[in-house]
Symmetry: C2
Subunit: 332 residues, 2 copies
């Protein structure tokens, strides 16, 4: 409700100092303890808050971090909101863009940010993306999920999806499954293209019949594709879904076809959605330590901002066994 905004000059006047001295004092630079305390007291009393635009213009830093993600994916959504909170606690504001798994949008957004933010955190849409190409080298960049290899000064937080996939396939194999379909989508934590060759190599190494299917990134999309697939004669005995929402679609498809989970069909998810334990039967899936991931990401970003790039941090999923897998039905 107070009329005009309180500026640094007002504080300086009240303190009987120059603008410069006041600025230094507020930041704990070039001034005695007593002065600093006095100036701070006056500033709070007057209700002074620095104008971020002026700070950005003069200081060359914006205090803004851009986050690019696909919020339709609930796992990413959760991560993003945690990161926004953590950033705020550390004195940064987050500008979040929903790029909706579209590499074009991602590139547009990120390049529109060049020079306007201190840092960029991206949950890349595609492993091959070159989205960081346009960025100033002054901008700190952290990629989550896919390493940036071509940019020496950058930092990545990578997920050990290889471990996840091999664990999943091994689990199914040991239950006796020999015919597995893997459902992936562009919106999953683990982009399909990255994982294809790996999975098929692993599978053939294990003597497992593996089919790969890409589905639309919605539960209903997955449902219809899966239903069509399961209606055929050679339907698999197990489905490994690269995100839990896909898995939910597969549950629906199974219900549509009157297949019982897990006795007729085993289902495995990925990312441990809040609802994974709620569906019937509770879904076995893979979970992450989101707190640690967020913490590592923000720490890496801030380290990079301070010109101490941190390199790579790696996280592994842990298998959460519930009740959606079982041995395959006896041969038909």
């Amino acid at each position: 409700m107070p009329g005009g905004r309180v500026t640094l000059q007002d504080v300086a006047d009240a303190a009987g100092l120059s603008k410069a001295a006041t600025s230094y004092a507020l930041r704990g630079l070039k001034s005695s303890e007593t002065t600093q305390q006095r100036v701070r007291a006056i500033a709070t009393e007057l209700g002074f808050t620095a104008n971020p635009a002026a700070q950005a213009l003069a200081g060359g830093r914006t205090g803004l971090v851009a986050i690019s993600a696909s919020l339709r994916d609930s796992w990413q959504q959760g991560l993003v909101s945690m990161m926004a909170t953590t950033l705020r606690e550390r004195g940064y504001a987050a500008s979040i863009a929903d790029v909706d798994a579209d590499p074009g949008l991602e590139a547009t957004f990120i390049s529109s940010m060049r020079g306007n933010v201190d840092g960029v955190i991206a949950l890349p849409t595609a492993p091959s993306g070159q989205w960081w190409r346009d960025l100033d080298s002054a901008t700190a960049v952290v990629a989550i999920g896919e390493p940036i290899t071509a940019r020496a000064e950058s930092t990545s937080v990578v997920f050990d999806n290889v471990l996840g996939v091999t664990t999943a396939l091994n689990h199914l194999l040991q239950l006796g499954h020999r015919s597995v379909t893997m459902f992936s989508t562009t919106l999953a934590t683990m982009p399909s293209r990255a994982i294809d060759s790996l999975a098929s190599r692993t599978a053939s190494g294990l003597g497992l019949g593996l089919k790969m299917v890409t589905v639309p990134p919605s539960t209903n999309g997955a449902r219809s594709v899966a239903a069509q697939l399961f209606a055929q004669d050679d339907r698999p005995t197990a489905a490994f879904c690269l995100s839990d929402s896909i898995a939910f679609g597969v549950y629906l498809a199974a219900r549509d076809l009157k297949l019982t989970v897990p006795s007729d069909l085993s289902i495995l998810g990925y990312d441990d959605n809040e609802l994974a334990k709620i569906v019937d039967p509770p879904l076995s899936t893979f979970g992450w330590d989101e707190d640690a991931i967020v913490d590592a990401t923000i720490s890496a970003l801030i380290a990079t901002l301070e010109a101490v790039p941190i390199g790579q941090t790696r996280f592994s999923p842990r298998f959460i066994e519930r009740s959606s897998t079982a041995p395959p039905p006896r041969a038909h």
Copy 2:
């Protein structure tokens, strides 16, 4: 990769104009068509993008809109990401804060924004909140879900929860239910306190035995409270949950106690979560036209920014009947 940033001065030099003329031309002011096109062409060729900090400082507008919401609620989360996208299309960046249903956080965040953003969109945590008190009258404010009454120049997008509640209670009544428990939480679309008196009045008008229960805002929290409640002798024949995630918790509680939905217990949700149709049996709930809500919100905000406040827009939920309600079991 290009070295320094391209400034307005560079464009002006290339065009043989003054900085002022260039600035006007780029914004389509005070200049001929031909000049405008020429300057724009040069600007794009040089890769010029205005420095937002400088624009904010000089122009008095920041191009930034703050959004305060509780992202743990998936319905709010969806709304927020849609709003962020729409804002971006309209030339604004969104700064999102997760206030996690905490009125204190909400107040802190919003007052920290004073003078630094052009507008604020809030999904208020509490109907009684005075969060907008600290804001400049120059800041455009749109409240979603709860009207701001004390601020003449502000705009609200309100939800007709009265209609939702009466529809729900009527539906249960007509099925024959006489004993209903209503589960609410601070994180629901419809804050509990606002609805309490209304609901009980409605219920008693209808001759319905209504009990109100407040549960923690997580599926698991709802589960344990509900399980305890249902274990008692006088358990209700129907549960009306003010958010779908609560309803999922009630499903779990029912399963824990070997109650069949809907024959032993009818369940009604609110907000039409993506998974409402996936649980078994599919959950009857209330849905909103999110696109229209987002559109109305952003339009209202932009109108307010242009000093044409729009007043109130009201949205009504639509009842989506699926299979989670049925007549109550015959008297025990």
